[in-house]
Symmetry: C2
Subunit: 146 residues, 2 copies
């Protein structure tokens, strides 16, 4: 089963790939409504923090008028340590991610951001949703670039 939110995240990932960015997309949902949806814009904005997750958090926080956003995040790849920590600060309740990222992930791999006692808000995490579609998008992108 593919969640419709993950499908939207995949669409945003594809758009990012078409812009020459690493194809990763994210959607922030609250009470069944999309608060923000974005793909990576690191190169376009010259912003090393412009990962899809950061963009949706910032947009939702701005429109809600509070840095403590809440809600559910759908993202095509396991968030990196920067994004995982930001999702904790933003008080995201649940994270659904697509592909696992042994090389750059920060939740199930590497620094495992939510596993430390110094992490004050721990979202629930569900990995592997639409895993194959999310992973294929990335491997296809990097294959083309080689």
């Amino acid at each position: 089963m593919t969640s419709k939110w993950m499908s939207l995240a995949l669409e945003k990932a594809k758009e990012a790939g078409a812009r020459g960015e690493v194809p990763i997309g994210a959607v922030l949902v609250q009470d069944g409504k999309v608060m923000a949806a974005a793909g990576n814009r690191i190169e376009e904005l010259s912003d090393p923090t412009a990962h899809a997750e950061i963009l949706v958090i910032r947009e939702a926080a701005r429109s809600l008028g509070t840095p403590r956003v809440g809600g559910e995040l759908y993202v095509t790849l396991e968030p990196c340590p920067m994004c995982a920590a930001a999702l904790s600060f933003a008080r995201i309740e649940r994270i659904f991610f697509g592909a696992f990222d042994p090389k750059g992930g920060g939740i199930d791999h590497g620094p495992r951001i939510f596993d430390h006692p110094t992490c004050h808000h721990r979202p629930q995490v569900f990995g592997g949703m639409s895993e194959q579609a999310c992973a294929e998008l990335l491997t296809g992108f990097f294959k083309e670039r080689r």
Copy 2:
């Protein structure tokens, strides 16, 4: 000895405190020139990612036209995991921080972002510069709020 850049970071931290933000300040220096200086703006901007370090990276990256910034970062408190990972993405070469942060730090504490093989760029880190002044600013701020 107090670095003049750390003094500027302390000034930015004080300004942040006066705005009701946690008093943390950061300065990004390249070839002896200040590229960006900022204090926290989390509440003001309703942006959970608006830590001083993120603000200076984003500003410098935008003005340089590349997400790979380089240079040296001076910050009054040990960066959190989000900022530590962002500093790695931004290819910061050296990080000088003031107070150590056992509760929320991400370099010498908690997830120790730079200590994992999945961290692809490791800045050199120098902690404890102007430590007392940086720490006192924070303890004074939280004492007032209680």
